[in-house]
């Protein structure tokens, strides 16, 4: 072995460190890009998904609670309550409903009734304060009627002396429309603009949208929309 044979074994170390820093700087945007759907997909979703009035029925003279229950004035201080179209599409086929006993009091924003869907129990919040004076027995026998027509199927009739005050917390008319649009946006973003929930013609897969979003944790999604907090 002739000649000067010093070998700098760390000769390339500074370039290597620069390369690693470069990798980190590039990988993070790469990964974020990977996880954001393309503009085109986003816009396609916007195009296919029609106005909210065709997705979720939102009748005019109804007052909606942000937790997706509704209230309609029947007569003097008498109010019908139920769950709205978005709620029933979200949970899908309802197997059973548990309602409080006749004569008991419900408060606005507290637990109103419980749905039994696919062996899980989901609460919904009551839209008004009052005393329960009638329960829809037919609905308890056949809860699927809610899926058929959520606004025709009233759950309870409530004596609500403070309905005018309750109304201030409820949404109606244009406000309700705006709210529904926000809900739709929220739903779209949860789908990650993945149109797995929508048929080609824009019809909505209604086999319980929550279940299509997440087979295991769908109840958490529902509780999110129904404003049920753990506790």
């Amino acid at each position: 072995m002739e000649g000067f044979s010093y070998v700098d074994i760390f000769a390339t170390k500074h370039i290597e460190y620069l390369l690693v820093i470069g990798f980190l700087l590039l990988f993070i945007p790469f990964w974020r890009l990977l996880n954001r759907p393309a503009r085109a997909v986003f816009e396609a979703a916007e195009r296919i998904v029609p106005a909210i009035s065709e997705w979720f029925r939102l009748p005019e003279k109804v007052y909606y609670h942000p937790g997706h229950s509704w209230a309609v004035q029947e007569g003097n201080q008498l109010v019908k309550v139920g769950m709205n179209d978005f709620a029933q599409k979200l949970v899908g086929k309802i197997q059973a409903i548990q309602m409080p006993a006749l004569g008991s009091t419900i408060r606005q924003g507290d637990k109103g009734w419980t749905l039994k869907v696919d062996s899980k129990a989901i609460d919904m919040l009551s839209p008004v304060d009052g005393k329960i004076i009638d329960i829809n027995e037919e609905l308890i026998r056949s809860p699927q009627n809610i899926n058929k027509d959520p606004y025709d199927s009233w759950l309870m009739k409530v004596e609500a002396p403070r309905f005018s005050v309750n109304k201030r917390q409820l949404l109606q008319g244009t406000l309700a429309k705006k709210w529904m649009e926000e809900v739709r946006e929220n739903l779209l973003s949860r789908m990650n603009y993945n149109l797995g929930l929508v048929y080609q013609d824009g019809g909505l897969l209604v086999d319980g949208m929550a279940r299509n979003l997440d087979r295991e944790k769908w109840d958490e999604i529902v509780k999110d929309y129904f404003l049920i907090t753990e506790g």
Partner: protein
């Protein structure tokens, strides 16, 4: 003879044999194009295998003193094992991280992994010159623990057992053995954890085999980091194979799947595509890092250098960006093509290290080029594996849902441990 329709009716040994007999009958058409093409190849291959066992390796292969390892090692074993990498990654995701999204494909992936290792162990057996001594690394008193191959062979054996345990619930469900199903079901997580550690080591170990061929492999491919590169590439190799095989299975076995399964598979493909893109991005950077660390950039301006660039640009970087585009635009065709390209890249990479860049300085006339007999035997092994896969999928609950009693068991299993543990956690958890 009693006709046993469902496994649940087995009451005694007679019933059992009747059931097995009925299962052995072919299901479906016999004269499909696939059968017609594959059967003659398999028959020729079996004859060649016997010929090889009787006459020795030289009669059937083009192996030489300069090239002791050919496509049976370079392709069957090294590529096959890389493609089976989907099993350890997806079992990690489904059983350790408990991500249920990938549950629909987990059984098929584990089955594929198990069959891959079994059949490629068979390929190794054929490649061994003194195959009757194959038990020596396992039994006996002369263990070459200093050998990387010792480690690889033990891991193959242990990993095959792990994969079988992971797959055995499906077998138990097929046979209707409820108690056994419960027992092997409880072993799953342990087998998965063991399997992931084993896989890490033997995926990288296959690369480590070439560490002592330092002066024979072209410097662009030889590096002390070969094991790390093999391990990283096994991630996207395995997942690409899941995409590839899943797509084919969904077409061929579509009758076992529900509409929900098809929809969920698309979501799964997106997730797999994302993982492949990420892994390939990292792998590409690793290759560049190693290039710089070894000061090899000067070698890029040579025929082998161009081939190297073709491998990492055309078959790593390109499919990486194709995955990126396919995932973002939800274009499943692009994702599928990207998967095929990345699989080709793995084949090229493993063949480079074992046969092409190995002794690259030997002129073409003296190089190893596989004989038609080697190729036929390789195809035979692959085709028999596909036949076995098809046999199993048509009979056992791999793609279709498990029987009711098994599903109930599963939800019950998941629910019960809670009651045992709850009291202990009350104080500390919240």
């Amino acid at each position: 003879m009693k006709e046993i329709a469902a496994a649940g009716e087995i009451k005694n040994l007679k019933d059992f044999w009747a059931f097995i007999r009925s299962e052995l009958k072919p299901k479906g058409k016999l004269l499909t194009p696939f059968n017609v093409i594959s059967l003659p190849i398999i028959l020729v291959g079996v004859v060649l295998i016997v010929y090889r066992l009787v006459k020795g390796l030289g009669a059937v292969t083009n192996l030489s003193q300069d090239f002791p390892w050919g496509i049976w090692i370079g392709f069957d074993v090294m590529v096959g094992v890389a493609f089976a990498g989907g099993a350890y990654i997806l079992t990690f995701v489904v059983y350790i991280l408990r991500n249920e999204k990938y549950h629909p494909v987990i059984r098929a992936t584990v089955l594929n992994g198990f069959l891959a290792y079994v059949f490629y162990a068979g390929a190794i057996l054929l490649d061994l010159g003194r195959w009757w001594n194959i038990v020596n690394p396992v039994l006996g008193n002369k263990f070459g623990v200093n050998s990387v191959l010792f480690l690889v062979s033990w891991h193959f054996l242990l990993y095959m057992i792990s994969l079988f345990i992971e797959f055995s619930p499906a077998v138990a469900e097929w046979l209707g053995f409820r108690r056994i199903r419960k027992i092997v079901g409880s072993l799953t997580v342990g087998a998965v954890i063991f399997g992931i550690a084993l896989s890490t080591l033997h995926q990288s170990g296959l690369g480590a085999l070439f560490l002592m061929a330092k002066d024979k492999i072209h410097p662009l491919w030889y590096t002390e980091f070969i094991p790390v590169l093999f391990f990283t590439s096994s991630i996207f190799a395995g997942l690409s194979m899941v995409i590839f095989e899943g797509t084919i299975s969904h077409k061929v076995f579509g009758n076992q799947l529900t509409h929900e399964d098809h929809a969920s598979f698309n979501k799964i493909m997106l997730g797999l595509g994302k993982a492949c893109a990420g892994a390939m991005f990292v792998y590409f950077f690793m290759k560049i890092l190693i290039l710089i660390h070894g000061k090899q950039w000067g070698l890029l301006a040579s025929p082998m250098g161009y081939w190297y660039l073709a491998e990492i640009l055309g078959f790593v970087l390109l499919p990486c960006f194709m995955f990126l585009r396919g995932v973002r635009y939800e274009n499943f065709s692009i994702i599928r093509i990207a998967a095929i390209l990345s699989m080709l890249g793995i084949i090229i990479n493993r063949l480079n290290i074992s046969v092409i860049a190995y002794k690259w300085y030997v002129p073409l006339s003296q190089r190893y080029i596989p004989s038609w007999m080697e190729i036929v035997i390789t195809l035979t092994i692959l085709l028999i594996e596909v036949w076995v896969f098809r046999w199993i999928v048509n009979r056992m609950p791999v793609l279709r849902k498990s029987p009711e009693w098994a599903l109930e068991e599963e939800t019950h299993e998941k629910a019960t441990p809670l009651r045992k543990e709850a009291p202990q956690w009350k104080a500390s958890a919240m």
